[in-house]
């Protein structure tokens, strides 16, 4: 459904992504793990055109083109078919929880307001925040804000939702509520690509784990294989380091 090949990105002469290829199939829940600075977030941002890639090919939503040659129209098509959940939520601060969700529907999708509100309420219900619909982001806890962020993404009914470290900015006791929502999404068949440091999520919820380091994909496979029998030395070391701290 979504394929990228040889994705490259560099900042000021530093190669962050050195040719990444990923295949995302419908219903996949892919966890991307790896040490910080390995390019996980950059990968997500370039895949979704939030940042311009320096090279690579994309096949998605009827677009089949090199990243550098994407037209504005094609960029719009791509954005229209992905959802994005940010690390620091990025809810619209001047909009209520409900308006945060309806905004994209009304402005970008031209959905009627009453219809949009119906969709938004349904999305809020899925993340268990119907009673907070008229709250502004500043009046919500981090966990609640992130759940609104997820509701905002699912309300647009995208082909695939990208999660950029959705729980990293949260207090530890709030991580659970967000992970639970994500788990529900995964089990309902939503296609998800998740950059995460939550090894439990990667191991128990995703059907594929990608281990990245230094702008490369070092290893990928079923979570069981990666966590129990990693074939690469780097993966082994990363997992021992990170699991030692849990």
């Amino acid at each position: 459904m979504l394929t990228i090949e040889g994705l490259k990105k560099s900042y000021a002469g530093n190669d962050i992504l050195k040719g990444i290829s990923i295949d995302v199939n419908k219903g996949d829940v892919i966890s991307i793990i790896g040490p910080s600075g390995s390019g996980k977030t950059t990968l997500l941002r370039t895949m979704t055109t939030l940042e311009e890639a320096d090279g690579g090919h994309l096949t998605f939503a009827g677009v089949d083109k090199d990243f550098e040659k994407l037209t504005g129209k094609e960029v719009n098509t791509i954005r229209r078919n992905v959802g994005f959940v940010f690390q620091n939520y990025n809810l619209f601060n001047n909009k209520t929880a409900l308006q945060n969700i309806t905004e994209g529907l009304i402005v970008a999708r031209k959905v009627k307001k009453s219809e949009a509100e119906k969709i938004a309420l349904k999305a809020l219900e899925r993340v268990g925040l119907t009673d907070r619909k008229n709250h502004y982001p500043s009046q919500l806890s981090g966990g609640q804000q992130q759940r609104v962020g997820i509701a905002r993404a699912i309300a647009l009914n995208p082909e695939v939702i990208f999660f950029d470290e959705p729980t990293s900015a949260l207090d530890p006791e709030l991580v659970g509520e967000v992970l639970k929502v994500m788990q529900d999404l995964a089990s309902s068949g939503t296609t998800m690509v998740v950059v995460t440091h939550q090894m439990s999520f990667a191991r128990d919820v995703s059907n594929r784990v990608i281990f990245m380091a230094d702008g490369h994909i070092v290893e990928q496979g079923a979570p069981k294989a990666i966590f129990e029998k990693p074939s690469e030395q780097r993966t082994k070391k990363f997992l021992t380091d990170i699991l030692a701290n849990v």
Binding site: T48, F84, K95, A153
Partner: protein, 252 residues
């Protein structure tokens, strides 16, 4: 020394005719400078080639010269320029137009900087979130970024307004009949300068205080989304109150 109170009442009555003039200058300057200030701020933020330099130069020029010099230059340059174009009629123009020009040019420079800093306080994640729900950059700017920026700009816009109100008193140099000019004329007739100036003082105090209240209410109304659950510090309703308003805390 005693104050001639009868005279003060008389000056107060005549000088009140200058209040609308003062307010007019301030409002015209603000209304014209507002959109231009936003535009200039955007030019500076996005470093629009060519124009950015011009805007920067303009802002430095206005900020780097005393307003009195600007008034003198505009008031001597414009009439002679116009004289070359429309002839004698140039000298029949109501001088208030020159005041509009000076104070608008001034407000543009101040507001450009106000909006620039306000726009930069809005997290760039807001734009990214807009793009990722499928909105165009322009739509995100108008619906998400600008409203937030304007609200965080409010205290500085209030400041600009107060400066405009006070600086507009310099319009008397261009023989605009504002509060100051009227009081000065009265004073010159009767040689009661102190009394006249005290009246001027009180008038500006009242106008500025009213402006402060208006901006406080605007800010309170528009920043409701920024208030968590506890109340922020209130407005100091007593102009000379030493006691600061208490913070009210509501639990929820």
């Amino acid at each position: 020394m005693s104050l001639n109170t009868d005279f003060m009442v008389k000056v107060a009555q005549t000088a009140i005719q200058g209040v609308p003039v003062t307010l007019q200058i301030v409002l015209v300057a603000l209304v014209i400078a507002f959109p231009i200030g936003i535009l200039f701020a955007l030019i500076r933020i996005y470093r629009v080639k060519g124009l950015q330099r011009l805007v920067q130069f303009y802002v430095s020029l206005v900020r780097g010269t005393p307003i009195i010099a600007q008034i003198l230059i505009v008031y001597s340059a414009f009439p002679s320029l116009l004289n070359m174009i429309i002839g004698r009629a140039a000298f029949a123009i109501n001088p208030i137009y020159y005041a509009y020009i000076v104070f608008t040019l001034n407000a543009i420079a101040t507001l450009t900087e106000v909006f620039r800093s306000a726009l930069q306080t809005v997290d760039k994640g807001q734009m990214e979130a807009g793009l990722m729900v499928g909105m165009q950059p322009r739509q995100t700017f108008w619906r998400i970024i600008l409203p937030q920026a304007l609200i965080s700009a409010l205290p500085n816009i209030a400041n600009t307004t107060l400066y405009l109100i006070k600086n507009s008193s310099l319009a008397f140099i261009m023989s605009v009949k504002d509060i100051t000019a009227i009081a000065k004329t009265e004073a010159a007739f009767n040689y009661n300068f102190l009394e006249a100036y005290l009246v001027v003082w009180v008038y500006y105090l009242i106008i500025c205080y009213a402006a402060e209240v208006v901006f406080y209410l605007l800010e309170r109304y528009f920043s409701k989304y920024r208030r968590p659950i506890k109340k922020t510090s209130g407005f100091n309703w007593l102009p000379f109150g030493i006691k600061q308003p208490k913070l009210e805390r509501k639990q929820s």
